[in-house]
Symmetry: none
Amino acid sequence: MKNLTKKQKKILDYLANYEQDNGYMPSYQEITKEMGLKSKATIWEHLKNLKDKGYLDFVKGAARAIKLEEKFRLFAKAVQVPLVGLIAAGEPIEAIEDKEMMDVPIGFVNGKRVEDCFALKVRGDSMIEDGILDGDYVMVEKNYYPNNGDVVVALLGNEYATLKRYYREKKRIRLQPANSTMKPIYAVNPAIQGVVRAVLRKF
Amino acid sequence: MKNLTKKQKKILDYLANYEQDNGYMPSYQEITKEMGLKSKATIWEHLKNLKDKGYLDFVKGAARAIKLEEKFRLFAKAVQVPLVGLIAAGEPIEAIEDKEMMDVPIGFVNGKRVEDCFALKVRGDSMIEDGILDGDYVMVEKNYYPNNGDVVVALLGNEYATLKRYYREKKRIRLQPANSTMKPIYAVNPAIQGVVRAVLRKF
DNA sequence: TTGATGTTTGGTTTTTGTTCGGTTATAATA
DNA sequence: TATTATAACCGAACAAAAACCAAACATCAA
C-alpha cells in the first residue's frame, strides 16, 4: 500500500469519522467545505488518488457511496464476536445457522483475544440470582482457566451446556447454579467451555 | 452491502425506532408524514431502494409488513454515550467530572437519537429482582414517555434519582422497585429522566 | 362498500458526482 | 538558476442519481 500525502490522510480521517458519526458518507460538497476548499473537482481528484492507492473505492455515479477499506474504518468502539447459539440449563447448545455476529463494546473484551470470544443467548433461569436472565446475552472467553466464583459455560456429559458458578473443592469441582431451587452439580473434571466476561441485556 | 444515503439512513432509523416502540411497522402514510413529505410514492421508492441495497424486505401487498435486515446494524458497531454518573436507590446522581464516555453496541441504541442516550452506573439493589445489580451500567433514553412496566430513572424530590419500574394507576404513578424488601413509591407527576433500554455488566 | 393500505405511472426538482481546461504551489533535479 | 514533475487547486458545464410530487389504481379487511 502506497504512502499517503498529508491531505490524503486528512481526508481519509474525515471520512472515517463522518461515517462513524452519521452512518453514511459525506457528499463531495460537504468534504469540499470541510477541507476549506472551493471546488468539488479537487476532492474528486483526491478521492481518485486514494482509490488508485487502494485506500477506498467508489462506484461511478452513486451518491454518498464511498467505501473505505476495512482497515481504515475507525470502528474500534466495538468488536464483533460470533453468536454461536443458545445456552440453557440442561439443554444442548443449539447452533445458530447463519453464523450471526454480535457487537460487544471494546471495553468488554478488553485485553482478551477477540478470537477467543464468543456470545451466547441465555435460556433458562439457572443464574437468575446473579442477575443473568432468560434472553440475556453473555460474552464468553474461551481458553481460560477459571477462578473460584467465575461464571462458566460447562459442558456436561459432553453434550449439555449450562451456565454455572465455578468452585474448586478438595477433590472435585462444584458447579453452582445461582438459583436456590436448583442443586449444585459436582464433577471431577468438567469440560469448561469458557468464562463469562459480560452480560448484555436489551429491553 | 452498499452505502446508505442521508435520507435512507433517516428512514431506516425511524423504522427501527418505530418497530421497537410499537411492535409493528408504520404505514407508508405515517412514514410520509414523519419525514415531512407529501406523497407516499416517495416513501415507496425509498423503501424500494433500501430493499435493493439489502437493508430490508417487504412483501407485495401486505400492510405494515416491512422487515428490517439484521445486517444494517453492522454499519456502526457502537456509539459513544456520556456516562453521566452513578444512580442509587435514594441517593442523588453524582456527576462524574471529566465527562466520561461509554461504548454501547449500536444495536442497543438502534434508531434512538444518540443525543438522547446516556449511561449510568447503578448503585444499590432496588432492581435486583429484575437482574439489575449494583455496579451494572444501564443505557438510558431520555425524552421518552414511558410505557407501563418500563424501567425508568425517576427524580424524586428534585434531587434523588432512582431506578424503578413505572406503572400508571388511576390517579397516580406507581414506582415499583424490583426488590421485595422495598416498598413502592407513589407520585402524581414524578420527574422521569428516561427509560432504561439496556443493561451492561462487566465481570 | 368503505377506508386504510400499498403500488404504479409519469412526470419535476434538487442534489450529487464527473469531466474539462486550465492555474498555482512545492519540491526535486538538471 | 531554470526546468520539470507532481500535488493541489479552481470554475463552469454536464450527466445522472436521488428525491420529490399528484393522481390514479389495486388490494384487503372490517
